[in-house]
């Protein structure tokens, strides 16, 4: 299935969970947050929540700013 991760389209296997997504794309483990379809998903449920087809996933962290 196709998803959009941080603005780019990617093909991933059906049933992929959010914690698997983080590993597949080598995303940082700490200091990050994830939103799927504009809803923040707490880290505590990444392991049990599947990425939805056509989901828009955003993974963010702190940068210099302000």
């Amino acid at each position: 299935m196709t998803i959009t991760l941080n603005g780019s389209c990617h093909e991933i296997a059906d049933g992929t969970t959010l914690d698997q997504l983080v590993v597949i794309f080598s995303l940082p483990e700490r200091g990050v947050a994830l939103a799927m379809n504009s809803e923040v998903v707490p880290r505590s449920v990444w392991a049990s929540m599947r990425v939805l087809p056509d989901a828009r996933v955003e993974v963010v962290t702190a940068f210099q700013g302000g």
């Binding site: 603005g7 940082p28 939103a35 923040v40 955003e58 702190a62 210099q64 302000g66």
Partner: protein, 271 residues
């Protein structure tokens, strides 16, 4: 005779209790530092340490897959508290989502709320700002809104439950200083929460003026990070904020129309 050097400034200040408190949290400095604009993390590190700031802003952006040492690592080593911002948001909806992501990523409920109207002026959009502030306060955030130099809007934000009010001196990154000092004074009178002058500071005298006008603190980013020598400017700003605060609380002389001699006017020789 004892020679007084600059190192005596800090003890003199600390001997008089003058705590700076936001939302029940005492902060050890009235200078808040923004991290945007620093040319490198090494430069940022030296500026943060030189500033003495205890509260430092960061932006929230998409993870870069090629990131090296992160700003988080630098700031954690410096031991400062993080204040994530919602810079780049044009709507209340985006600002609220960004604040929630920041809370999840950084484990803090504090947020510098920015909702801007356009990328030319970077001025706050008052309507979206009020909407976002209300939603975030209701969700348990400690909200520090970047706002216009408008006393009425400041009062509305304070009434909503914002923990501090952060009016601009002039547009972000402009270095134009405080263009409407009277409005800043009125904001200080209008709200009971701390007022933090945010945006527009160009040099040390601007920061001092903010404190003399009655602001409780100053937030500075570009004036430090984009200075030729950021660490030196950070040091200057630290002293400028201390000077302004002391001057504000010391009780300045009234302004007079004509001179008032400071030497005795009697027993003057008759040549």
């Amino acid at each position: 005779m004892t020679v007084t050097d600059m190192s005596s400034v800090a003890p003199v200040v600390s001997s008089v209790p003058d705590p700076f408190v936001i939302a029940g949290q005492e902060l050890s400095s009235r200078l808040l530092l923004g991290t945007g604009g620093a040319s490198s993390l090494t430069t940022l590190d030296s500026a943060v340490r030189a500033s003495g700031s205890a509260l430092v802003t960061v932006a929230i952006r998409r993870v870069s897959l090629t990131a090296g040492d992160s700003v988080l690592a630098v700031l954690n080593r410096a031991g400062v508290r993080l204040l994530p911002n919602t810079a780049g948001c044009y709507t209340a909806r985006d600002a609220v989502l960004t604040a929630k992501l920041a809370r999840e990523a950084l484990g803090t409920t504090w947020v510098k709320l920015e909702v801007i109207a356009d990328d030319i002026t970077l001025l706050p959009d008052a309507v979206e700002l009020l909407d976002a502030a209300e939603r975030l306060v209701d969700d348990g955030f400690t909200v520090l809104p970047y706002t216009n130099d408008d006393p009425v809007l400041a009062r509305r934000l304070a009434d909503l439950g914002c923990a501090a009010i952060m009016p601009l001196g002039s547009p972000i990154g402009s270095g134009l200083g405080i263009r409407n000092p009277h409005a800043i004074e009125m904001i200080c009178d209008a709200v009971d929460v701390p007022v933090v002058l945010d945006a527009g500071i160009g040099t040390a005298s601007d920061a001092t003026l903010a404190m003399e006008l009655g602001c409780d603190a100053v937030l500075i980013a570009s004036a430090v990070t984009r200075a030729e020598n950021p660490a030196a400017m950070a040091t200057a700003m630290k002293h400028a904020v201390l000077a302004g605060r002391l001057a504000r609380t010391a009780g300045r002389i009234p302004v007079r129309r004509f001179a008032r001699a400071s030497s005795p006017t009697e027993a003057v020789i008759q040549g």
